[in-house]
Symmetry: C2
Subunit: 235 residues, 2 copies
């Protein structure tokens, strides 16, 4: 791929805009579709570079990326998932418990790599521009890196699944992450046999996609009135 120009005046053609939306609307949380094929180093590097170009509060870039390829490490993370998953199942009402247990929720062992995204809250000193009042901003920066990674991967035909059914201390122990470093995400990453056309929890009847017009308001919480122009475009 040729170098992407950084420019003060780079506009997007209609085709480029469509490509961005195609990526956003076709990104999926992948659990059951991973192939074992390795991701070439140049492609993985592009995906990581996209993550590294996320916005960060005070430009602190608080993230690190741990690439997990060792089968023994994956095995420990998978065991941690299984323990947490059993605990989670017990939290659901009886009516939801069996449907919950039937969901495929991770591809830790099948995905050729995992990527753990962390947040070093002490990076670049204690006082950070923009984190003085909302202390969670650095964590949110690292989440933006996850979303950039996810979208870049989708454009590369690489699937990503965010595994959050884990006890924090288990993931920390598996990857030897010190207490001072916050855990943001454990991602399963790899090529897929297909990307589901729609989110699997939607297709499985777990929850429907909400109507966008039901969650857009004007000038204050839950206020409406006279905005049919925008609302008519929200479907």
């Amino acid at each position: 791929m040729k170098a992407i120009p950084l420019a003060a005046d780079c506009a997007f053609t209609a085709e480029e805009q469509a490509a961005v939306y195609k990526c956003i609307f076709n990104r999926r949380d992948i659990r059951g579709q991973f192939l074992a094929d390795p991701i070439p180093d140049d492609i993985l590097a592009r995906i990581l570079r996209a993550a590294h170009h996320a916005p960060s509060v005070g430009f602190m870039q608080p993230w690190d990326f741990i690439i997990v390829r060792d089968g023994a490490v994956k095995g420990r993370i998978h065991a941690a998932f299984q323990a947490a998953h059993a605990e989670a199942a017990a939290m659901f009402d009886e009516a939801k418990r069996e449907p919950y247990k039937s969901l495929k929720l991770q591809g830790i062992l099948e995905a050729p790599i995992g990527i753990c995204v962390t947040c070093d809250r002490a990076r670049n000193g204690p006082v950070v521009v923009g984190r003085t009042h909302l202390r969670e901003m650095d964590l949110y920066s690292a989440v933006c890196a996850v979303q950039n990674l996810w979208l870049a991967a989708r454009a590369e035909g690489v699937g990503v699944g965010w595994v959050s059914i884990l006890r924090r201390e288990d993931l920390r122990a598996a990857l030897h992450i010190p207490e001072a470093i916050d855990l943001i995400a454990y991602l399963c990453v790899g090529y897929v046999d297909h990307f589901p056309a729609k989110p699997e929890l939607g297709s499985a009847g777990w929850l429907p996609r909400m109507a966008l017009r039901d969650i857009v308001w004007f000038d204050r919480w839950r206020q409406r009135g006279g905005e049919e122009g925008l609302l008519s475009h929200l479907g």
Copy 2:
């Protein structure tokens, strides 16, 4: 723009991939470049739809979007910024205080609209798939919506600036957001006279961009060894 297909097999051409990276690498946090021009409803709707297609834990879609157009409301938020900004300046060492005060950090009054993104943690019931162990996952979902919004806006030529120098209670009061709803982001949104070619805190010499190869590890925290293949692509 024509409808974006959702498909199990939609691959990306090299041109589409380049468009996605162009968007990711040219996204900027906009503070001083806003124009007053209104954003057409159909374009704003596309940007909001991109946000709504973010990943969400258990497909809970916990976000709401409050579009701020009322000058009086913007004025209250700007006053809240000024109060927090004065507090923030006092937190920096003397050497950093004057440089901090010289930074342009928001465009609350200049941007034609603000968008407040919130998180309703009670949406769809108390037990959420994937939030059973890492309780912050719903907040992180709403952050992913912010990043989708930001990227879609960039593709549309619309600038976004995330204002985080605000006391939470001031923003809550200005928008009448109930205590049960979490505040994620207040975004200034509008067309710009230009997008800076590089992040402004980098250009201003506040902090440099880190080298990506310094923050990528293998199989455990800060572990290296034998991965020159990938590292050589990280620059």
